[in-house]
């Protein structure tokens, strides 16, 4: 694959998986400005590793590993960062107008808020669970055993249910 083909293929991959990148960034970064930076960093790191992507492995597994690792590292960084070297005025991935008018919007926001309140590693686990990844794929992305995954999911799910029940009562 020559460099132009690789660049075009990457654009296709990002276009197809923009939702994944947005969801991960949104769950680790609540502020719009920071999220813009995080999305940019995730795409940059994906592009940097794209040449080494081994097609034997599932593309989504590779995408999740990089996106989650970049998002967690970003989350852990000191918040007092300097301004961008070449600030982007636009978002790379943005929501078009009219996106906030769904009836379930409030519950979605609550779910996002509750997942957002989890520790960073539990948050990664929950995203994968909600994205309906198999235990095996989750174990591969996170680096845990499948048994460990099952135990942890039920525990984190319980935490979320409790949070919802406190809101409903």
């Amino acid at each position: 694959m020559d460099s132009q083909q690789q660049a075009d293929r990457f654009l296709t991959v990002i276009t197809e998986h923009k939702g994944l990148i947005y969801k991960v960034a949104h769950l680790y970064c609540y502020h719009d400005e920071d999220r813009k930076d995080l999305i940019q960093e995730i795409i940059f790191q994906l592009w940097r590793s794209f040449g080494n992507y081994n097609e034997q492995y599932k593309l989504s597994t590779w995408l999740y590993k990089i996106s989650l690792n970049v998002a967690i590292s970003y989350y852990r960084k000191d918040k007092s960062r300097g301004p961008a070297a070449l600030p982007l005025t636009d978002d790379i991935i943005n929501l078009l107008p009219g996106a906030e008018q769904d009836g379930t919007e409030q519950n979605i926001r609550l779910l996002q808020r509750f997942v957002n309140e989890l520790p960073p590693l539990d948050r990664a686990l929950m995203i994968l669970y909600l994205e309906e990844k198999t235990h095996r794929e989750m174990a591969e992305i996170l680096g845990l055993t499948t048994t460990n995954i099952a135990t942890k999911i039920s525990r984190v799910k319980e935490k979320l249910k409790q949070k919802f029940s406190t809101i409903n009562h």
């Binding site: 947005y22 790379i92 943005n94 996106a99 992305i141 942890k152 919802f164």
Partner: protein
């Protein structure tokens, strides 16, 4: 809120994003040509600056040593030379640290990558402890061979240097990750530059718990 409800809520969110998310291809192309630099990547500038400042300091010391090569200035030459050696060792450790950081792959599992990153961040401690060893030499550079016959030299200057030596060796031996939680350590290093080390230690504990459960 049952399991299916959580998932169906997430699916609703997913569908909404599918309908409404727009990708700015122009910006992705800019990233591909590395024209767009994020705030995170600009952080590397600070590290390069630290490195250049260290190298400049070593060069200044080198010039000082070179221009002082005479018997009357033997203490200055040895002191500046030793300070230079410890700074070179610290710069080498810092470069090694930066290289190891840049080699960590984000395409490994989350636990593996985050553990490596946190361990490296926590180990910045090793660079600092080396620099403590130069402290006694800041008390000896002004000595001259003529002072060796003076009583006050042995009564005041030498004990001060001995005190600094003891302190520097003690610091070198005790500034370790194991002691990072101790009160004296936190009191001594309660600065902005130590927050990442402390955070890294806390995150390592969090990773351990995450793996153990």
């Amino acid at each position: 809120m049952e399991e299916m409800e959580l998932k169906s809520l997430w699916q609703a969110y997913d569908k909404k994003l599918e309908r409404t998310l727009a990708l700015n291809l122009h910006l992705v192309r800019e990233i591909q040509t590395q024209k767009a630099k994020s705030a995170i990547r600009s952080m590397r500038g600070i590290k390069v600056f630290t490195l250049l400042a260290g190298i400049l300091w070593v060069l200044v010391l080198g010039v000082l040593v070179f221009n002082s090569l005479q018997f009357e200035r033997i203490f200055l030459v040895v002191s500046a030379g030793m300070i230079m050696v410890f700074n070179i060792v610290a710069i080498a450790a810092y470069i090694r640290h930066l290289v190891l950081m840049s080699r960590i792959s984000n395409s490994e599992s989350v636990v593996q990558t985050q553990k490596q990153l946190a361990m490296l961040q926590a180990s910045t401690i090793s660079v600092t402890r080396i620099l403590f060893l130069q402290a006694p030499f800041y008390t000896t550079f002004w000595f001259t061979p003529a002072m060796l016959g003076n009583t006050w030299f042995w009564a005041v200057a030498v004990p001060v240097t001995a005190l600094f030596t003891f302190g520097a060796v003690w610091m070198y031996r005790n500034i370790t990750l194991k002691n990072a939680g101790k009160r004296w350590f936190r009191w001594l290093f309660s600065g902005k530059e130590w927050t990442p080390v402390e955070k890294a230690r806390a995150f390592l504990r969090e990773i351990d718990e995450f793996e153990r459960d």
